[in-house]
Symmetry: C2
DNA sequence: TCCCTTGTTTAATATGTTTTAAACTATCTT
DNA sequence: AAGATAGTTTAAAACATATTAAACAAGGGA
């Protein structure tokens, strides 16, 4: 049983790393996701053979992502932690906000370059501006795509 | 003009890093993408103030991704390089094969765990197996999504 | 053929990230 | 209140990756 959990946790790490996540974050989330009851940081650290500092840091990260949440057990003053199960949403939100942030940085730069385009240069740089246009269309597509992902998600349910 | 290129290259680096790409790869691709004519490794290195070793390594990576290609100019024995312009395809293919590879690693592990599920344990681990099912459905969704991305891409054109 | 230029490979350096160990803070138990 | 337990923060270490510098190989022109 524990062996199975370990294998699944390792698989989660493997998947998470392709999204640029670190090992600890994936391990902790997967452990909580597969646990029947909420766990304390100490239990997490013991189970994953990970320093408590590392548990603390990465639990905070997961909380910021809304991937885990505190559970207050009656009589206990310290919270336990449990996984929020809608990992689709978690992954999606993280990707979406990340991409949007990047695009909002790139877009004004392209605008700026296009507006500075002076007539003399333009002739000799036909190709250059054509490629800028192409990039702008791509950005438009990505934005369209993000706006519609919610719909698609619902559709595939 | 060169200033504009530098800004755009920097923006490309910024975008690329959110996909986990290194600086050099993004710079080289963006430079070739925005250049009117194919460039030699030496020219690339000079333009980006980057060692020729680094240019060489990362040009090879870009070639493997089909993101750039060699151009043989008459009379020259060494190739120049130019960007393949369909970066949507490049990004998409890279993401798609990456995700597929990861899923093909994870799927059999889940199968295995589910098949080992023995009756005694099963009762006490209702929740555990329910979550496994949930993950399996998620993987199914992702696969469906990937299979249909081509269609969606065409649709948004 | 010999040198000069160009490109590749490799080992070392530099940079960035993750993890831990240890100091610190807060909470709980007696 | 004192000692023990749990959690956070930080500085250092371990680790991974990217970049360069330098040795090497291949081709081009004298």
């Amino acid at each position: 049983m524990e062996k199975a959990k370990d294998m699944l946790i390792e698989a989660a790490v493997n998947l998470g790393e392709s999204l640029g996540l670190n090992r600890a974050v994936c391990q902790i989330y997967a452990l909580l996701y597969l646990s029947n009851a909420p766990l304390s940081p100490t239990e997490i650290g013991k189970s994953l053979e990970m320093s408590k500092g590392n548990v603390s840091i990465n639990l905070r990260i997961l909380e910021q992502w809304n991937a885990v949440r505190k559970v207050w057990k009656k009589g206990y003053s310290r919270p336990l932690y449990t996984a929020n199960e809608d990992i689709e949403m978690i992954i999606f939100d993280k990707l979406k906000t990340g991409i949007e942030k990047r695009l909002s940085y790139v877009k004004p730069i392209i605008m700026q370059v296009k507006n500075h385009k002076d007539r003399n240069l333009a002739a000799s740089n036909e190709k250059f501006f054509a490629r800028l246009d192409r990039i702008e269309r791509l950005i438009g597509k990505i934005e369209f795509f993000l706006q519609n992902l919610d719909t698609i998600k619902a559709f595939t349910k």
